[in-house]
Amino acid sequence: MAVIGVIDYGMGNLHSLGKSLERVAGSDRIEISFDPEKLIRCDKLVLPGVGGVLGCMNELRRLELNDLVIEASQKVPMLGVCLGMQVMLEFSEENGGVPALGLFPGEVVRFPDPPKEGTGERLKVPHMGWNRVRQVRPHPVWDGVPDDSWFYFVHSYHARPKQPEHTIGTSEYVHDFTCAIARDNLVAFQFHPEKSQGAGLRLLSNFAHWDGTV
């Protein structure tokens, strides 16, 4: 029996992510914890997150979880969701500019503000709601998920990875942007699979059954 650890650092609603993982994990156990000792022993880790990047990084450091994430990122399959994806890059321009975990080269930038009235369709920030995700590179987490499936997003900032090969999924809002990244044993989504009905559950199931190789 494998243990999937969900890193609980007080940022956001882990209820839905936890129950979605339980739904798909089969005999695997879900461990929601902020204890680095417990988490380092997990077979897989999930890094969730909502809110601001500064609060997120501060809490990760306060709970001594940033070192855990970096250490575990070299060992076990790890999934970042929403802000949990954003902190995997090197830097975010949110909150005046915040250095992040640096698991992927690149940065996190804000969507352009909505155009003024009369300049075409108004695009609101945050980007909130259902959008299609294009699978631009094959990856085991896409298994059984049709290309261009709908996923639920809510965010004002998006990742801009330096290496194009790290982008495995894109979506379009204002412009094309990276919404899924992966390398080695790491994978991360900007959207919320736990809020995206069947397609989201399928992604989580694929992660739960993934051995971390591509």
């Binding site: 940022m11 956001g12 609603n13 209820h15 839905s16 129950k19 979605s20 739904r23 798909v24 909502v50 809110g51 601001g52 503000d113 909505p114 009235e117 108004r122 609101k124 920030v125 945050p126 980007h127 909130m128 709601g129 259902w130 959008n131 299609r132 998920v145 049709p146 499936s149 709908w150 639920y152 997003f153 809510v154 965010h155 004002s156 379009e172 809002y173 736990e194 809020k195 995206s196 009905q197 069947g198 397609a199 989201g200 559950l201 399928r202 199931s205």
Partner: protein, 264 residues
């Protein structure tokens, strides 16, 4: 591209879904879990629960309801009604809500929105604005906001209020026309446009839907990002799927129903 959202709204009273016209003739309309599951299967993009239970003693019942629903559905759930303190927000999020809707408490203390947004993130703070037209005929339009389920006037001008709420940290606005609520005459499109065009965050249109055309109008003429409706879905007049097909035919970008094969 982002789809426009269709959001059924469920009034909850002591753990049951109820329906009524303007708080009168309230009738039992079923078990929240069953109703939520039905809308989820029909392709609802989100759900809104509005707790209309009068007594605050019944809060634990609401939390149980939210928990039971959140276990069963995998789309975003917003819960509103009687959210007054940070502890209320926390308890609802912990029970499984993805967003909370704040109305009266924001009027009493606008900084409550900031407090909640900075603690839990703007993405989970919806400010509900109940607005009523107060100008006389031939005067320029003016709406003021009402609290306590539309019974209490505040004298606060609605457009400026909407802008203030966004500055205070609202991630989304739920705009209800008190003039149209329950009338089935359609949304107050002028109100929706006035607010939607003056704020950077998404607006959910509410109050007055009686036909599928009204949904399309709210998005195309009201410039809303999402449409909320209660009675047309509860009374079984239309399913969410029928509404979406109708909207798609009229050029609205909607999320098609997920294939049942996805379900694990």
């Amino acid at each position: 591209m982002l789809a426009k959202r269709v959001i059924p709204c469920l009034d909850i009273d002591r753990g049951r879904v109820v329906k009524g016209v303007k708080f009168e003739e309230i009738r039992d309309a079923g078990d929240p879990v069953e109703v939520a599951r039905r809308y989820d299967r029909q392709g609802a993009d989100e759900l809104v629960f509005l707790d209309i239970t009068a007594s605050s003693d019944d809060r634990p019942t609401l939390f149980q309801t939210v928990e039971a629903v959140a276990r069963e559905i995998y789309i975003p759930l917003t819960v509103g009604g009687g959210v007054r303190t940070s502890a209320d927000v926390r308890a609802l999020l912990k029970a499984g809500a993805d967003k909370v809707s704040i109305n009266t408490a924001a009027v009493h203390n606008p900084d409550f929105v900031t407090e909640a947004a900075s603690r839990y993130g703007v993405q989970c703070i919806v400010v509900a604005i109940d607005a009523k037209r107060v100008n006389k005929k031939k005067e320029p339009p003016r709406w003021e906001i009402f609290t306590h389920g539309g019974r209490k006037t505040t004298g606060i001008e609605a457009i400026g209020w909407a802008q203030l709420m966004v500055r205070k940290g609202a991630g989304e606005l739920l705009v209800t026309s008190m003039d149209r609520d329950g009338t089935k005459e359609g949304y107050d499109l002028e109100l929706l446009r006035a607010i939607g065009d003056s704020v950077p965050v998404p607006v959910i249109a509410s109050g007055g839907v009686g036909s599928l055309d009204h949904l399309v109008q709210g998005l195309q003429d009201g410039h809303a990002d999402a449409v909320l409706a209660a009675s047309i879905f509860h009374q079984g007049t239309y399913t969410v799927g029928e509404a979406k097909r109708f909207m798609a035919e009229r050029g609205v970008r909607v999320r098609e129903q997920a294939l049942p094969a996805f379900v694990i």
